[in-house]
């Protein structure tokens, strides 16, 4: 008998971190206590998207969306909503744009403006249940491919769809397939690149955790198209939940004849194995990833030969990113024309983005290519919190760049972003507001690239280190204008002479911020100030004489006895030459009397 209510409990990584399991258990007991076990079904799903608001519940058939649910709310939800049919208003998502409480998921701009293709199952089915995947049309594309399509036809469909690699560079996927199909080898391999290493990117994680069968189905279709019998899914060790759900999915697919010796009784054989990464960003680069699959140090090598000729164990290998694989079944089933009708001429389809940073609705979203940054940030993302102004949008992680606020109407596609000195990347979108220092952001990414450089080639190993030391000098207020020229020169050299994509793209965050925010670099260099008040060496802490109530909290909190004053006798003062800018006084002051000012602190104040 079908259930009267389906309660979807988001079990994406962020909601799991927010103790969604406790909410689920509390709901389960409340449902049992009210004798509703046969009427209400709890389903744990993948990520629904608005991670900031977790734990999230979605109740069907009405589509009521509950946010920030705690175990204490369980009884009320069951009694009021499940028994009496009255959704608990105080827990529904109040959409600030609509100024109303959304009783239906569809009414929320966050969902309304999205177009979910790749993520269509994420947050709506139980990723650990193969039957649910099949019920939504899962493995239909594989069936069609194996029984009614020739391998060449499948390659042609992918070519015609103009799908481009979602890992970042945007290489035509169909072309990759064609090259791998034509290459000669004893054995061919299919690889799923799930080494999502960009800080601020968690799209692949959402798909692997929320709909693992979609990735397996895409890989199996490709295996048939190019004639491969074996596949590897390479996943970061940092994603244990994704690994577990993939393991379950692979076992289920094998047990149901969807992987293994005789798939769907067609005689076609293909199987996949999970390979777990071990914490090296460079392994996202395809030749490094291949080395890592082979059990070696994950160091890139020169191309050609490309993996399509010589990849895993020296054999022709087809590598696509997680999201790319997630697109395949839809293209096979609905056709290339349908796919091209979404998005833009040169970048068809949708793209999944991970929104984070200074944005109201952090989380995972999917929109057609060509959507503008403004729509993404203001309409879906709910804008910048605390009334702050948007300063820039960072895309593409350490290989990408910063797009300044004045270009917010840029449509998102591979070419437009590149023109601005940014990069599509895998889909991490980090929103920066007026309080962020662009020099500091560039330094942050360069620290990352420098740390993750594998050390094989000199431009990357030595060059990024040299660039970083210049940036450190600048953020310390010891830079010169000559340093800016030096940075530019080093960046150009590293870009043109590094061996792999990591090195070639490592200077991008510096180049794009120097291009769009040169005045901030000049400010740091010429006046030794940081107007965003972020660079530690370029700020001072001061006590506002009028606001200070002499409560003594700051003096007690100061670890270096830099603060002087007598309780009850305001104002207190900070001795700048002693202060180490740790910010403790700022944190503890209940009257906001401690202020951060721009400019280097005075030296020798005590001695003088």
């Amino acid at each position: 008998m079908p259930h009267r209510l389906d309660v979807l409990v988001c079990s994406g990584a962020a909601c799991v971190s927010n103790h969604t399991a406790d909410v689920r258990d509390a709901l389960q007991s409340a449902i049992e206590a009210h004798g509703l076990s046969t009427e209400v079904r709890l389903v744990e799903t993948g990520c629904m998207g608005p991670c900031e608001l977790g734990p999230i519940l979605l109740v069907y058939p009405e589509g009521a969306l509950y946010i920030r649910v705690t175990p204490d709310d369980a009884n009320e939800i069951v009694e009021e909503h499940f028994l009496k049919g009255r959704p608990v208003q105080r827990l529904l998502w109040e959409d600030p744009a609509a100024r109303r409480i959304a009783e239906e998921k569809k009414q929320v701009a966050f969902f309304e403006r999205q177009e979910k293709v790749v993520l269509s199952n994420c947050g709506t089915i139980d990723p650990e249940d193969l039957q649910e995947y099949i019920a939504t049309g899962g493995y239909e594309a594989l069936g069609l491919a194996l029984t009614e399509r020739q391998p060449e036809e499948l390659i042609q469909i992918v070519l015609d769809s103009k799908l481009r690699g979602r890992g970042g560079a945007g290489f035509p996927t169909g072309l990759k397939w064609q090259l791998a199909a034509r290459a000669e080898g004893d054995e061919k391999y299919i690889v799923c690149n799930g080494d999502e290493g960009d800080p601020g990117a968690f799209m692949d994680r959402a798909l692997l955790e929320g709909d693992p069968h979609a990735v397996i189905e895409g890989m199996t279709i490709a295996a048939y198209a190019i004639g491969a019998a074996k596949g590897f899914i390479y996943v970061r060790a940092e994603y244990p939940l994704a690994i577990r759900r993939l393991e379950i999915a692979i076992d289920q697919a094998r047990a149901s004849g969807l992987l293994g010796e005789d798939i769907l009784e067609t005689g076609f054989a293909f199987d996949v194995e999970i390979r777990i990464g071990a914490g090296a960003f460079v392994c996202g680069e395809e030749t490094a990833l291949i080395a890592s699959i082979e059990g070696q140090r994950g160091m890139p090598r020169t191309r050609p030969p490309y993996p399509s000729d010589r990849g895993v164990f020296g054999q022709p290998t087809l590598i696509n990113n997680v999201e790319t694989w997630g697109n395949i079944r839809h293209i096979v089933l609905r056709g290339a024309d349908w796919f091209r009708s979404i998005g833009t001429e040169s970048s068809p389809g949708t793209k999944v983005f991970a929104l984070s940073g200074k944005i109201t609705n952090t989380g995972i979203v999917e929109v057609p290519m060509g959507t503008t940054l403004r729509e993404l940030i203001d309409e879906i993302g709910g804008g910048i919190p605390d009334g702050k102004a948007l300063k820039a949008v960072q895309t593409g992680g350490p290989s990408g760049g910063c797009i300044p606020a004045q270009h917010i109407d840029t449509p998102i596609d591979y070419e437009s972003l590149k023109e601005l000195g940014a990069f599509m990347g895998s889909g991490g979108v980090i929103v920066l507001d007026e309080d962020d220092c662009m020099v500091g952001i560039a330094k942050y990414f360069l620290e990352f690239s420098c740390d993750e450089s594998c050390g094989k080639c000199v431009p990357c190993r030595v060059g990024t280190r040299t660039m970083l030391s210049i940036l450190e000098r600048i953020t310390d207020g010891r830079g010169t204008l000559g340093d800016l020229e030096q940075l530019q020169m080093l960046a150009d050299t590293i870009r043109s002479t590094s061996l792999c994509g990591l090195g070639q793209a490592a200077p991008s965050p510096v180049l794009s911020t120097m291009k769009h925010f040169r005045e901030e670099y000049e400010e740091h260099v010429q006046t030794a100030t940081c107007s965003a008040k972020r660079c530690k060496a370029l700020i001072r802490y001061e006590i506002d004489r009028a606001a200070c109530k002499a409560c003594d909290l700051c003096r007690k909190a100061c670890p270096v006895e830099a603060i002087e004053g007598t309780p009850g006798e305001p104002p207190y003062t900070i001795h700048e030459s002693v202060c180490i800018q740790c910010g403790r006084c700022f944190d503890v002051c209940p009257f906001d009397a401690v202020r951060i000012e721009s400019g280097k602190k005075k030296q020798n104040e005590v001695e003088g």
Binding site: A14, C51, A201, A278, G279, F281, F313
Partner: protein, 155 residues
């Protein structure tokens, strides 16, 4: 007890004896058994897989996930991903360093805590975030950091 671990390691090595390119996966499993990868474990793996010892050590030292030192009772991982960075992760690192007197990569003298900074753990909505063992603590500020550390200190 040591022998029990050795038995488990031998079983792992047997499981992977025919697998192509097994080293990284074997090291993962071995680290699960021992908590880290001491030299004698690396040597045994090298000998059994017939891979040069230098190669094994090269792989261990290449990947940040593999440890060659034992870890403390609790692992504190501070996320330094971009979202956490723009929301002040650097200061969280400072606070914890100061509270425990150890730098990232170090273990406190009493063996209670190991501190590490990690790349994005994908909980960007809760930034700034840290993980203690498997539990995530988000939206950190000084108060929350101190309260959380106390939970583990007094446990």
């Amino acid at each position: 007890m040591v022998d029990e671990k050795l038995n488990r390691l031998n079983r792992i090595l047997k499981d992977y004896s025919d697998a192509p390119g097994p080293l990284v996966q074997v090291l993962h499993r071995a680290q699960e058994v021992y908590g880290y990868l001491p030299a004698d474990v690396q040597l045994r793996i090298a000998d059994r897989l017939e891979i040069p010892r230098s190669t094994v050590h090269g792989v261990v030292s290449f990947y940040s996930f593999f440890r060659t030192e034992p870890r403390g009772e609790h692992m504190i991982s501070i996320c330094t991903g971009t979202a956490c960075h723009v929301k002040g992760a650097e200061r969280i690192v400072d606070m914890i360093q100061e509270a425990l007197g150890i730098l990232p990569g170090e273990t406190s003298e009493d063996g209670r805590f190991t501190l590490q900074d990690v790349r994005c753990i994908g909980a960007c909505g809760l930034a700034p975030v840290m993980m203690i063992d498997e539990d995530v603590y988000g939206k950190l500020d000084r108060k929350k950091v101190e309260a959380t550390l106390d939970l583990y200190r007094n446990a």
